[in-house]
C-alpha cells in the first residue's frame, strides 16, 4: 500500500524532489486529513499539502493544522534522556535513565507496596499507545493508580452517553451527513475556534436553509452566525435543557411513537421538566423568554436535527447531568439512529475518543470493559496472560490522584503525553503534589511545565515519527503514518514501555517489536466489548477511508450510524433522566462577584506545549487576556489593555483586559493555554462531577481589582 493515498482526478502540487505522505493532524478530534511533504533524498520535512479528498475535512485545516508539521523538527525537541541533578537537567544515556527508574520503582514498591507507583496518561496519542498505558500500569508496574487527562476533557460526555444510550461514541452519525441536517442545537461549543473544519459542514447545511441555535455565555465566532444565540450564564445548562424539553412537550413537538418504543422514564422526565416554564428558565439562565421560545420552536419543528455540545457543558460539576439532558432533547424529537440526525460531542483531544475506550481510565479496561466486572477482568486477563486475581482494582480519577499524593499513598508518577501542571484545575495543589513525589518520570517531546518537575524526562517521538491508529470525533478509526525517523535518541512510547517493563521483570507480557503487533493484541483485547475494534485492519482503513467502530469482524462493514435499531442498554431502550436544578459549585458572592469561565483560542491546543512553540501561532496569540464587556469595565474604571488582578478562593493572577460586547456583562473569559503565572487554572475550581470526576473548569466566582 502506497504511503500517499489520493483518489483519481484529485490534483495536488508535487514539488520536485519531494514525496507526499498521507496522514492526519496531531491536534484535535477532527483529525483533519493532510499530506506531509518530505524531501526524498534527505528525508527532511518540507511542509504540508492539503488532502482534498479526505471525506471528513476536504483539505481544510485550521492554523494549528497548517503549522502542525513544524513541531516535528523543532529546535526545542528533547533529543536525549534528561536526569535532574542538583535541580538542573543534564543529558544522560538511556541506560542511565532506565537504571534510575528501575532502582527507584523497585525501592518504592518494596517500601510502600505496589500501588506506590502511578501512571498519568493522555489521549493525544494513538490507540495502540493509549491501550498500552493501561496495560503498562496494571501488568507492567502492578499498580491500581492509572488515569488520564480525558478526565479534564471528555469524561462527562462519556458518562452521560453511557447512562442514557448505553455506549459512549462521541457522534451517533458520520460528519458528512451534517450537510443534510435542518437544525443544529449547539451548546457550550465554540466550534469555529476549537473544531474549525466542522464549520464547512454547518454552512453547507445553512446554504440549504438549516438553522443554528447556539448556547454560550459569549458571542463566539460560532454564536455570531446563529439564528438564535442563547446567551446563558455559565453553569446553567441543565436549566436550559430542562426548559427546552418543557417546551417540546408543551408545544407538541415530542415524537411519541419513538419515545414509547425506544425510551424509558418518559413520565418521570415529563414531571421533572414541568417547573421549567420559559419564565423560570429565563430567570435561572439569564436568557430572554423570547429567545428560549424561538429556539424551542425552531428546534421542535425541524425534521432532522443534531444536538451538539462540548466542554462548555461537560466541564462542570454537573457535566454528566447536562449531557444526559441535552441527549434527551434529541431523544424526545426521535432523532438518534437516523439519517443526518442525532447527538454529538466535539472530542477535544486528537484521540480523545479512542483513548478513553481502552483502559487508561482508572475503572476501565480495553473495549469499554469495566474493572469491577469479573467477566471483563477474566477476558482481559486472558489476553494479557495474567491471572484475573493479579488484575489491580480500580484506582482513582486524575485530580484525585493528587489527593493520594498528599496522603502519601502515591509516591511516584509517570506522566505520559500530558501536562497537568497547566491543564489540571487548582494548579498550586498540583504543583505541590509534584514536589511531594519521591520520584517522577515524564515522557514528552518538549520540556513541558510538568516535565520541569520531573526527576527523569524521557524523549519521545512526535506523532509523525511513529505509526498507528486514532479514532476521530465521529468514531471513525483512521491511520497515522510514519513520516520520518525519530529525531535524536527519541523513542516511541511503546518502546519506552517495553524497556521499563523489561527492567521490572515483565518482558514476557510486553517486548513488542512493531506497532502492528500491538494493534493486533489491542484488537483482540477489545473483541466482544462495547467498543469492538476486532474487525478493523490497517488495509481496511486505507481502502474504506476509515472504519467506524463497533466492527466485530473483518466482514463487518463498521457502524457509521449508531443505535439504528436499539440502544446499548440492557433492555435496548434509552434512559431519559430526571434532573432538578442545581447551582454550580461556586456562585458569585459579595466578595467574589463575577463569574469566570475559561476556554480555548483558535491558535492554541490544550496546555500549549506544542502550539506556543510555533512562531505563527505564538505571534497571533502570545499570551492570555481577560475578555470583558465594556459595561463591566466601566464599573471598575478599566480601559482596553489595562492590567487587572483576578482572585478566586484558590489563587490570583494578573492579566490584561480585552474589551468586547461579545460576552455577557456579568462574565469574564480567560483562555487556558499558558503555564505558571499565566495559567488560569491557578484560579479554576476543582469541584468534581460525582460520576465522571471531571472538574468544574467552566464556572467559578472571581474578584476583579485594577492594578
Amino acid at each position: 500500500m502506497s504511503e500517499f493515498i489520493v483518489k483519481k482526478d484529485v490534483k495536488n502540487l508535487h514539488h520536485e524532489g519531494e514525496k507526499l505522505i498521507s496522514t492526519h493532524c496531531c491536534y484535535c478530534g477532527m483529525q483533519c486529513g493532510m499530506h506531509i511533504r518530505v524531501n526524498e533524498k534527505t528525508g527532511a520535512i518540507a511542509g504540508v499539502e492539503p488532502r482534498y479528498d479526505w471525506p471528513v475535512t476536504l483539505g481544510k485545516m485550521c492554523p494549528k493544522g497548517v503549522t502542525a508539521y513544524q513541531t516535528i523538527d523543532h529546535e526545542e525537541r528533547i533529543t536525549k534522556p534528561l536526569i535532574k541533578k542538583d535541580g538542573q537537567f543534564v543529558e544522560a544515556s538511556w541506560e542511565e535513565a532506565l537504571d534510575l527508574i528501575e532502582k527507584n520503582y523497585k525501592r518504592l514498591q518494596a517500601d510502600y507496596g505496589k500501588d506506590a507507583l502511578s501512571v498519568f496518561g493522555g489521549v493525544s496519542m494513538t490507540n495502540e499507545k493509549c491501550y498500552l498505558v493501561g496495560k503498562y500500569a496494571r501488568v507492567g508496574l502492578g499498580t491500581r493508580f492509572v488515569d488520564y487527562n480525558g478526565r479534564f476533557c471528555m469524561s462527562s460526555a462519556a458518562g452521560g452517553f453511557m447512562k442514557t444510550l448505553g455506549t459512549d461514541r462521541g457522534s451517533t452519525l458520520p460528519w458528512p451527513e451534517l450537510e443534510h441536517t435542518d437544525c443544529f442545537f449547539m451548546s457550550g461549543t465554540n466550534t469555529a475556534e476549537c473544531h474549525p473544519t466542522t464549520i464547512q459542514w454547518l454552512w453547507k447545511a445553512r446554504d440549504k436553509g438549516a438553522k443554528m441555535i447556539v448556547a454560550d455565555p459569549r458571542e463566539t465566532p460560532t454564536a455570531r452566525i446563529a439564528d438564535v444565540h442563547l446567551d446563558l450564564k455559565a453553569g446553567t445548562d441543565s436549566a436550559l435543557a430542562n426548559g427546552m424539553m418543557h417546551l417540546l412537550i408543551r408545544e407538541g413537538y415530542v415524537d411519541h411513537e419513538y419515545v414509547s418504543e425506544r425510551c424509558n422514564n418518559y413520565e418521570d422526565l415529563k414531571k421533572s421538566v414541568e417547573p421549567f416554564t420559559p419564565a423560570y428558565t429565563a430567570e435561572i439562565t439569564g436568557v430572554s423568554e423570547e429567545k428560549i421560545l424561538k429556539a424551542a420552536h425552531i428546534y421542535g419543528q425541524s425534521p432532522r436535527s443534531v444536538v451538539m455540545f462540548a466542554r462548555g457543558v461537560e466541564q462542570q460539576a454537573k457535566g454528566v447531568d447536562n449531557v444526559t439532558l441535552y441527549t434527551s432533547m434529541a431523544l424526545l424529537r426521535g432523532q438518534i439512529g437516523k439519517f443526518a440526525a442525532g447527538v454529538a460531542t466535539f472530542t477535544g483531544q486528537g484521540n480523545g475518543q479512542g483513548g478513553r475506550e481502552h483502559g487508561q481510565k482508572s475503572d476501565a479496561l480495553p473495549g469499554y470493559r469495566k474493572i469491577d466486572n469479573p467477566e471483563h477482568v477474566k477476558y482481559v486477563s486472558s489476553v494479557w496472560g495474567i491471572e484475573p486475581e493479579e488484575m489491580p482494582k480500580a484506582g482513582v480519577s486524575a485530580y484525585e490522584m493528587f489527593d493520594e499524593i498528599q496522603r502519601g499513598n502515591i509516591r511516584s508518577m509517570h506522566v505520559i503525553c500530558s501536562n497537568p501542571a497547566v491543564s489540571a484545575p487548582n494548579n498550586e495543589y498540583i504543583w505541590d503534589g509534584f514536589n511531594k513525589l519521591d520520584f517522577m518520570v515524564v515522557s514528552d517531546f518538549f520540556l513541558s511545565e510538568t516535565a520541569e518537575f520531573a526527576d527523569v524526562v524521557l524523549p519521545v517521538t512526535s506523532w509523525a515519527e511513529d505509526e498507528g491508529t486514532t479514532t476521530n470525533l465521529e468514531g471513525r478509526v483512521i491511520r497515522i503514518r510514519k513520516v520520518k525517523d525519530p529525531i535524536g535518541e527519541s523513542q516511541p512510547d511503546w518502546e519506552i514501555i517495553n524497556r521499563i517493563t523489561e527492567r521490572m521483570g515483565k518482558k514476557e507480557h510486553f517486548g513488542y517489536e512493531n506497532v502492528q503487533q500491538i494493534f493486533d493484541e489491542f484488537r483482540l483485547a477489545t473483541k466482544g466489548g462495547k467498543a469492538d475494534y476486532y474487525g478493523i485492519t490497517y488495509d481496511r482503513i486505507d481502502n474504506e477511508e476509515g472504519v467506524f467502530w463497533p466492527c466485530p469482524s473483518e466482514d463487518h462493514p463498521g457502524t457509521p450510524t449508531m443505535f439504528k435499531e436499539k440502544f446499548d442498554t440492557p433492555d435496548g431502550k434509552a434512559n431519559l433522566p430526571s434532573v432538578p436544578w442545581h447551582e454550580p459549585d461556586e456562585v458569585p458572592t459579595d466578595e467574589y462577584p463575577v463569574t469566570l469561565t475559561t476556554g480555548r483560542v483558535v491558535f492554541h491546543y490544550l496546555s500549549g506545549t506544542q502550539t506556543r512553540r510555533i512562531s505563527f501561532l505564538n505571534e497571533k496569540c502570545p499570551e492570555p487576556f481577560v475578555e470583558m464587556h465594556p459595561e463591566m469595565a466601566s464599573q471598575y474604571n478599566l480601559s482596553d489593555g489595562d492590567e487587572v488582578k483576578l482572585t478566586t478562593k484558590r489563587s490570583s493572577m494578573k492579566l490584561d483586559v480585552k474589551l468586547t460586547k461579545a460576552i455577557r456583562s456579568d462574565h469574564v473569559f480567560v483562555p487556558y493555554h499558558w503555564g505558571k503565572e499565566l495559567s488560569v487554572n491557578l484560579l479554576t475550581n476543582p469541584a468534581l462531577d460525582p460520576t465522571s470526576r471531571m472538574p468544574e473548569f467552566k464556572v467559578c466566582a472571581v474578584k476583579i481589582e485594577k492594578v
Binding site: 493544522g65 497548517v66 474549525p196 466542522t198 446554504d207 436553509g209 439564528d227 483558535v602
Partner: protein
C-alpha cells in the same frame, strides 16, 4: 484560467488559517501576503479576509516607475521582480486596497500572486484550500454566478433565508474577485 477567488466575508471565523497557509506556498518565502482583520472587535467577533483583487488594470503596476510588477497571461498580478524593484514603495501607496507589503530589510515589495505555482496547474491556492468555513473559495466563474443567484433565490423563498440576524450590516454580504 477561468477561475475566480470568491470571498464571503460573513463566513470568516477569524482563524487565520489562510495566513498560515499563505506562508506555506512554495514561492512565498514563508511570508504571508493576505490579511484577516476584525471589523470592530468591541462590537462583534466578525472578521474578514482581504487579499489582492488581481485588478485588470492594477494601480500598483501603473504607478511602478521601474515596470517591475508583471501580469501573467492569466491575469495574475505578480510581486515586483527582484532585479527591477527599486524599493520606492509607490505600489503600496497606489493600491486602493492596501495590499502590497514591503520588506524593509530586503528593500522590496511582495504581494499575493494567487499561489501562481498552484493555480497555473488549476490547483487551488493555499488560502482557499484550507479555509475551514469556505469564506475564501477558488471556483469556476459559472459556479460563482450560480452562488450569487442562489443567495437572492434563498432570500425569496420564505423560511429559507440563511440567517435572520442583522450581523451582516457590518460587512458586504459577498464579494467576487475576478482573475481574468
Amino acid at each position: 484560467m477561468n477561475k475566480v477567488m470568491y470571498l464571503e466575508f460573513e463566513r470568516c471565523i477569524g482563524c487565520r488559517a489562510c495566513q498560515a497557509a499563505c506562508r506555506e506556498c512554495g514561492d512565498h518565502d514563508g511570508k504571508e501576503r493576505n490579511y484577516v482583520e476584525y471589523v470592530d472587535f468591541m462590537e462583534s467577533r466578525q472578521t474578514y479576509p482581504m487579499m489582492c483583487m488581481q485588478c485588470t488594470d492594477p494601480a500598483c503596476a501603473r504607478v511602478c516607475p521601474a515596470n517591475a510588477i508583471q501580469i501573467t497571461e492569466e491575469g495574475v498580478v505578480l510581486s515586483a521582480m527582484e532585479e527591477k524593484c527599486i524599493g520606492c514603495r509607490n505600489c503600496t501607496f497606489g493600491c486602493p486596497f492596501g495590499i502590497p507589503k514591503f520588506d524593509f530589510e530586503e528593500n522590496k515589495m511582495y504581494k499575493c500572486d494567487m499561489c501562481y505555482d498552484r493555480t497555473q496547474h488549476d490547483i487551488s491556492p493555499m488560502c482557499a484550500s484550507v479555509c475551514p468555513s469556505d469564506a475564501i473559495r477558488f471556483i469556476d466563474f459559472e459556479e460563482m454566478q450560480e452562488l450569487r443567484r442562489r443567495r437572492t433565490q434563498l432570500n425569496l423563498v420564505e423560511g429559507k433565508k440563511p440567517t435572520e440576524q442583522d450581523k451582516w450590516q457590518y460587512v458586504p454580504e459577498f464579494f467576487g474577485v475576478y482573475s481574468d
